[in-house]
């Protein structure tokens, strides 16, 4: 996380760290990525020529749990960042570990869910629902996994004492990405799960 | 004055460069025939489009002359020398800028009114029209007349003065039906039906072709529309209907069985009085054609969806293979001999016939008018 070269040595025109501007820019771009995937999902909702459909397949309780875990993880990472900024190593390590664990359990939930559906006969090839569902939630899951990897790397650095208050920005940009991944799920969850019986 | 002299001097060098292309263009423009042109509308639909287009064209020509004229004027008027004093440093002029924002806006508003009107007109589906179903294939056109229960390929006949409604779909990839004189163009999709309508006001043959890239032979996916008098059109339809097998057999795939002369060939023999050698060739061709009937039907009233074009009236068409070849006996024979050599990638394979056999099949098909 040290690609700041000389940009950081001087004040920037806006006073914001360049990496922070960059991650916001990237998030803006990612919005269009997920908007396109969600749009595709909605366009094809209810258009499958054969079953199983969303209404027959999706189970809300498990995913609600996953959603809750993911939402809490956003809170955890805020606490971790707070710890990092105050130089409170114990707090940083505790909350960052919690964030990584929460992320991991969300990914685990999704792996379980996917294998359960495949077992019940819904693969990405089965019908349009399978294709759009796995593509959308799979890409979100990939984003979560990348976030977990990123945060886990920071956790190792934190254990080694490399996340000092001056370097808390490294955690801050990861946290921004993590919040974004959560917010995307906040859109996907109602669109895919809560509206599963919706008929267009 | 000095300015104009300078302009003239400047231009003298470019006189040939300007005049030669203009002169050439003029020669080409007056001497060439354009039988597939959007600029010669031959139906109510294309006249509607032409009206909208011409509004814009004239507006564009006026704008073009004014703006390019202003550019040329500015460039010649304000040519400077390196030692000239620094010109007055102007940063803008709000009034001017508002004016040249407002004028294009006004112009566009004026253009948009007939445009929007025409958009809604093009989408009106006419009642009491002759329906022709257009089905795109890689790379040929199928035309069906559901009201008459007949179908044909690559050549659509329509009665002049009668509203025609095209209902269009594709069997494989996207195509676009483009008849510049009659109907403009509309894309063909596999999963929805698109429409176009037109009333032909001139008789004759008019060509068109596929306008959406559709694979290897997109360049060879033409068709013709023949607009005829209503009487001729009725005769045409009756002729197609008459290609139905007289026997109870209704399967289009039923090929003429060996040994007995086919209905059409006997009919043709009766009218054209083929000599015995010719007749023998036609009969052999009929036998060989049995292998062709896996993909082609000679019955225009068939309801089976065949892979290849319907050949019921093949001999009366002007072109072969979606306007790839003129329809002559020689061309037909060489097509049957090796279609891949003529239109590479086409679905019809080289059948392994000898030249003689191909000629016999061609002769047989020549009897299907």
């Amino acid at each position: 996380m040290s690609d700041h070269s000389h940009a950081l040595e001087h004040h920037t025109a806006t006073g914001l760290d360049s990496r922070k501007v960059a991650i916001w820019t990237f998030i803006g771009s990612e919005c269009m990525f997920f908007a396109s995937l969600i749009g595709t999902y909605l366009v094809y909702h209810g258009k499958s020529l054969s079953g199983p459909t969303a209404g027959e397949t999706l189970e809300i309780p498990l995913v609600t749990g996953g959603t809750a875990v993911l939402l809490f993880s956003s809170f955890f990472v805020v606490m971790a960042l707070n710890g990092a900024q105050r130089g409170n190593r114990r707090s940083l390590l505790f909350w960052l570990s919690a964030t990584v664990l929460a992320g991991l359990s969300f990914v685990g939930m999704q792996i379980y869910e996917f294998s359960h559906f495949v077992h019940e006969g819904l693969t990405i090839k089965t019908n349009l629902f399978g294709a759009t569902f796995y593509t959308l939630t799979g890409f979100h899951g990939t984003h979560v996994s990348i976030g977990v990897l990123w945060l886990a790397t920071l956790l190792i650095l934190a254990f080694r004492g490399k996340i000092t208050p001056e370097k808390a920005i490294n955690l801050e940009i990861a946290a921004l990405y993590w919040h974004f991944v959560d917010v995307v799920w906040v859109v996907i969850f109602p669109v895919v799960y809560l509206m599963k019986d919706w008929k267009p | 004055m000095a300015l104009w002299t300078r302009v003239a001097c400047r231009f003298r060098r470019w006189v040939p460069a300007v005049l030669i292309p203009l002169a050439t263009a003029a020669c080409i423009g007056t001497s060439t025939q354009y039988p597939q042109s959007t600029l010669h509308p031959k139906s109510d639909f294309t006249r509607l489009i032409d009206g909208v287009l011409m509004n814009t064209v004239w507006a564009a020509i006026v704008v073009f002359i004014l703006v390019e004229g202003a550019l040329v004027w500015v460039v010649f008027r304000y040519r400077g020398k390196p030692n000239d004093p620094e010109p007055r440093q102007v940063h803008g002029n709000t009034t001017l800028e508002i004016i040249w924002t407002a004028i294009p806006a006004l112009l566009l508003a004026i253009i948009s009114v007939p445009t929007v009107k025409a958009i809604f007109q093009t989408y009106e589906v006419p009642k009491d029209a002759l329906t022709v179903e257009v089905i795109g294939h890689q790379w040929w056109w199928e035309f069906r007349y559901p009201e008459y229960g007949v179908r044909t390929a690559d050549e659509m006949h329509v009665p002049v003065g009668k509203m025609v409604l095209l209902k269009m779909k594709t069997e494989d990839v996207l195509h676009s039906f483009w008849s510049p004189e009659f109907a403009g163009k509309r894309d063909l999709f596999p999963n929805r039906t698109n429409t176009l309508w037109f009333t032909a006001d001139t008789t004759g043959y008019f060509s068109g072709q596929c306008a959406e890239f559709c694979g290897t032979q997109h360049g060879r996916m033409g068709f013709e529309i023949k607009s005829t008098s209503p009487e001729e059109f009725d005769a045409y339809i009756k002729g197609l209907q008459a290609t139905a097998p007289k026997a109870a057999a209704d399967s289009a795939a039923t090929a003429p069985s060996a040994g007995e002369p086919t209905r059409v060939s006997t009919l043709a023999a009766a009218t054209r009085q083929l000599d015995p050698a010719e007749q023998a060739a036609v009969d052999s061709g009929a036998k060989i054609f049995r292998m062709c009937s896996a993909c082609h039907s000679l019955d225009a009233t068939t309801t089976a969806n065949m892979i290849g074009p319907n050949l019921a009236n093949i001999a009366s068409r002007r072109y072969l293979a979606a306007r790839t070849l003129r329809n002559t006996p020689e061309n037909l024979a060489s097509w049957i001999y090796d279609p891949q050599a003529i239109k590479h990638g086409v679905i019809m394979p080289k059948l392994g016939l000898t030249h003689e056999q191909a000629t016999m099949v061609a002769k047989y098909l020549q009897t299907h008018r």
């Binding site: 396109s36 | 002029n93 999709f189 698109n194 429409t195 072709q209 890239f213 060879r220």
Partner: protein
């Protein structure tokens, strides 16, 4: 004015001697070198796309010509479009972004120098991957627009489409990384006093372009991912027999595709807005209007995509909406043209080659704009779309527009980039030949299109009246090639000649002209401060002609270290995509290996001291 400090700097031994050799280019993170790499690579791709165009024109010179097989013709027109858009015009613009955005901002580099190198390498690998397909006799063959369902396995079973969609996805990564970088650079690395409304117009238009890239590229990425899943993993996004809808591709493609048009033209607008004031010796007319019309064009660019789809039969309401938004775009575009005229009017025009190309740009762009308004009308478009009229239209905006403006930029900035002046006489021959040849090639296409010649046909029958005009177009294309040969001759002549360019050969207004030609690695010995829109003019007005800035040692200026990890990470990115294509031959282990290689490179990059 801080830039004047340059001339007072002490002559001391240099910390930043010019580095030489291949390794220094492979590991470079200097935005100027990366800019040159982009420019050279893109120019080579531009020539390749040009050769493809010549082969196309040779085939179409006569009716029923058999010079090219239909298969090869389809590959050539697909690669011509793909190459010119993604491998020529976009990276040629990127060359100028790289070299001149930091200089115009008064910065020492971009915000993320190593990310910048990464973008270049990914672009290079993507471009190579697209073109390697020729060696496998499997070049992409479904058009640069690759409409579904022709691109599905059923109708395109070979590797052709695989090369195309994998190549484009690799290029998309390069564009996105670069866009994040330049967006951040403009936001954060503006010199002291350079408010947004004081930025040079080239930087402004490039900044808007980055926003378009950021918002448009993810959409085609999704479209390509869906296609990839269809082709590799058996989904049915575009397969109608299973309920998929080919028109989904068209919507996603054009939601990207129309902003892409502005990605290609806005940097050109920027170049022209730099050249005209300098050679008119008069500031840009209506600066604010120029900025806001650019923003307005970009904004509307996301609301007009379906005007590419009028012939699909979307219904009268959608047609009307998209027709009106499309016509609206003519208004800010008109504002730009009038403001350029206003810039020249009252000026003292110095008829140098860069100005000639910019004037040529305006003249040609007007024609392209007017023909554009014609098919903004859906009924008229029912005749014009997919005909040669459209080919004429977009060549007037992309060649007559973008390429003329980029050539103008090349003549304008060449002395700054290489310290050598391009020859004026050869430049003028280049301009006039290119202008005449361009019009000879593309003007007849308007008529041949209106007279019924569709696009993308590998041949046409005699007797439809297309013969003479097609022959003229081919002659024009050959002359156009000759004009490019003259340009190359000019470049070689300058290359062999002495370093003869002063720091400020054109009496420039922007910061890049305050430093030596070519600039030193750190750009500015002292970071500049600006007080107006044309800082250098202001300084010259106050102090008289500036002395030639001296080359200084640059002690104590920290520059990022060279690194090869951007290149290795780029191979990881390209490798991941390519391994997807190889699943059918090699299985999944290669994908896993490439992902691990990518992660390995990323971690080395991150933990390498900058």
């Amino acid at each position: 004015m801080a830039t004047s400090a340059i001339s007072h700097a002490d002559q001391v031994p240099s910390d930043h001697a010019e580095k030489r050799g291949l390794w220094s280019w492979i590991t470079t993170v200097d935005h100027k070198r990366i800019g040159i790499l982009y420019g050279a690579t893109a120019f080579i791709f531009f020539l390749m796309g040009g050769i493809e165009a010549l082969l196309i024109r040779w085939q179409l010179a006569r009716p029923e010509n058999t010079f090219l097989s239909p298969e090869l013709y389809n590959e050539l027109f697909t690669m011509h479009g793909t190459t010119m858009i993604f491998l020529a015009v976009m990276p040629l613009s990127a060359a100028f972004f790289n070299y001149f955005i930091p200089l115009q901002l008064g910065a020492r580099d971009v915000a993320f120098p190593r990310l910048n190198a990464f973008s270049y390498w990914v672009f290079l690998l993507g471009g190579l991957w697209l073109n390697i397909s020729f060696l496998f006799n499997a070049a992409p063959n479904a058009g640069w627009f690759g409409y579904a369902n022709l691109t599905t396995n059923q109708f395109s079973p070979g590797l052709n489409i695989d090369f195309w969609m994998i190549g484009l996805q690799i290029l998309g990564v390069a564009s996105l990384a670069a866009a994040v970088n330049f967006f951040t650079t403009v936001v954060n690395l503006r010199a002291k006093g350079m408010k947004f409304m004081r930025m040079p117009m080239f930087t402004w238009m490039s900044f808007i372009t980055q926003v378009l890239l950021l918002l448009a590229f993810p959409v085609i990425t999704v479209a390509l991912i869906l296609l990839m899943f269809d082709r590799f993993f058996g989904t049915h996004f575009y397969i109608p027999a299973s309920g998929g809808d080919p028109i989904l591709w068209q919507h996603l493609f054009w939601i990207f595709g129309h902003p892409e048009v502005y990605i290609l033209i806005l940097p050109a607008f920027g170049v022209v807005s730099e050249v005209l004031p300098v050679f008119s010796r008069k500031p840009l007319f209506g600066y604010a209007a120029m900025v806001f019309s650019g923003i307005f064009i970009a904004f509307l660019g996301f609301g007009v995509w379906a005007h590419h789809m009028f012939a699909t039969g979307m219904g009268p309401i959608a047609d009307t909406a998209f027709s009106l938004t499309t016509m609206l775009i003519a208004i800010p575009t008109g504002v730009k043209i009038f403001n350029w005229l206003g810039t020249m009017a009252g000026g003292s025009l110095q008829m140098k080659t860069p100005l000639l190309f910019s004037i040529g740009f305006i003249a040609m762009f007007i024609i392209g704009g007017l023909s554009g308004v014609m098919h903004a009308s859906p009924p008229a478009d029912l005749q014009q779309t997919d005909s040669y009229f459209i080919v004429a239209h977009f060549h007037y905006v992309l060649f007559g527009g973008s390429i003329f403006a980029l050539t103008s930029g090349a003549y304008y900035w060449w002395p700054k980039m290489f310290g050598r002046m391009l020859d004026e006489k050869i430049g003028k021959v280049h301009f006039w030949l290119m202008l005449i040849a361009f019009n000879l090639t593309f003007f007849p296409m308007h008529f041949v299109g209106l007279h019924g010649m569709p696009r993308r046909v590998y041949t046409y029958p005699a007797g439809l009246g297309f013969e003479t005009m097609n022959m003229l177009e081919t002659v024009g294309a050959l002359l156009l090639a000759l004009s490019q040969a003259i340009f190359i001759w000019n470049i070689i002549k300058a290359w062999r000649g002495p370093r003869n360019a002063p720091a400020d050969p054109w009496n420039g207004a922007t910061l890049e002209w305050a430093i030596p030609s070519p600039p030193q690695e750190f750009n500015f010995a002292v970071e500049p401060e600006v007080h107006s829109r044309d800082p250098l003019w202001e300084q010259k007005r106050q102090q008289g002609p500036l002395p030639e800035p001296e080359r200084v040692g640059g002690q104590g200026i920290h520059l990022p270290n060279p690194s090869f990890w951007p290149l290795l990470t780029a191979t990881g990115v390209a490798g991941i995509f390519i391994s997807m294509m190889m699943i059918q031959f090699l299985g999944w282990w290669f994908v896993v290996a490439m992902v691990l290689w990518f992660l390995f490179s990323v971690y080395n990059w991150i933990f390498e001291p900058a």
